[in-house]
Symmetry: C2
Subunit: 152 residues, 2 copies
């Protein structure tokens, strides 16, 4: 799906980069209204800062957008994230009834969409969003690779 990230993915990437500068694993997410592409929430990973193991970028934007819309279901919303969501986030995306998930880099070790438990492929998964993977993949992967290279 490379080479051109879309503008929303560029924003997610900026959130990822900002997260990396805070010492977090650099993953960023944006949640938009599906019809208008209006940005309802944008966040980077804040697990270490908040001391909250659930504070992945996807969970933060889902919580923020749901609070903003005053409803626990976000059926008319799309989520854009730089990395394939982990099983927790994939399941949260399903619970939130998000319309479409777009992600950048694939995550064979920790992903829960195309890898591991493949949350949306389970017969007990009550809502499967449309899924588009690999958008801006190279740029999204490079932010992660640079972060882990600098850690060594």
């Amino acid at each position: 799906m490379d080479p051109t990230p879309n503008p929303i993915m560029e924003q997610a990437l900026a959130e990822a980069e900002a997260a990396g500068k805070r010492g977090e694993v650099p993953v960023g997410a944006v949640l938009v209204a599906a019809q208008t592409n209006e940005v309802l929430a944008a966040a980077g990973n804040r697990v270490e800062e908040l001391g909250d193991p659930t504070a992945h970028a996807e969970i933060l934007v889902i919580r923020e957008a749901a609070a903003r819309l005053g409803a626990p279901r976000l059926a008319d919303c799309d989520l854009i994230v730089t990395l394939e969501p982990c099983p927790m986030c994939a399941a949260a995306i399903s619970l939130a009834r998000i319309r479409r998930l777009t992600f950048g880099a694939y995550d064979p070790k920790g992903g829960g969409v195309d890898h591991g438990p493949r949350i949306f492929d389970q017969s007990t998964c009550h809502h499967r969003p449309e899924v588009v993977g690999g958008v801006g993949e190279t740029a999204c992967r490079e932010v992660l690779q640079a972060f882990f290279r600098d850690l060594r």
Copy 2:
């Protein structure tokens, strides 16, 4: 594992019942320090009240205990919940490095531990807690059944 729920499960059950009275699916959870059994957090489901699709009882106690301990990992903690965790909560329990998960009723339709994606059985699952299912199963199931019977 019936018939006698342990005292912590009784507290989780009380949280479930309180959640049901608020119009929430009646699930309750308690997070304790593994060594002392000190209660660090207790909560019922608050999805509708908070308008937050991630506000399952398990997520709420993990977030509260992590905030209290100031750390995103809860390696010396045990989580007790009235219902088999869904895939989101099971994955969060793994991310939080919780030592032992004890749950009451099994959930063939929505569970993610012994059903569906079986989160902890995945080769990409980085931490598998000790799991004890069926503790106080009858009482935990009856709270749920009564709630859904009253809805009809």
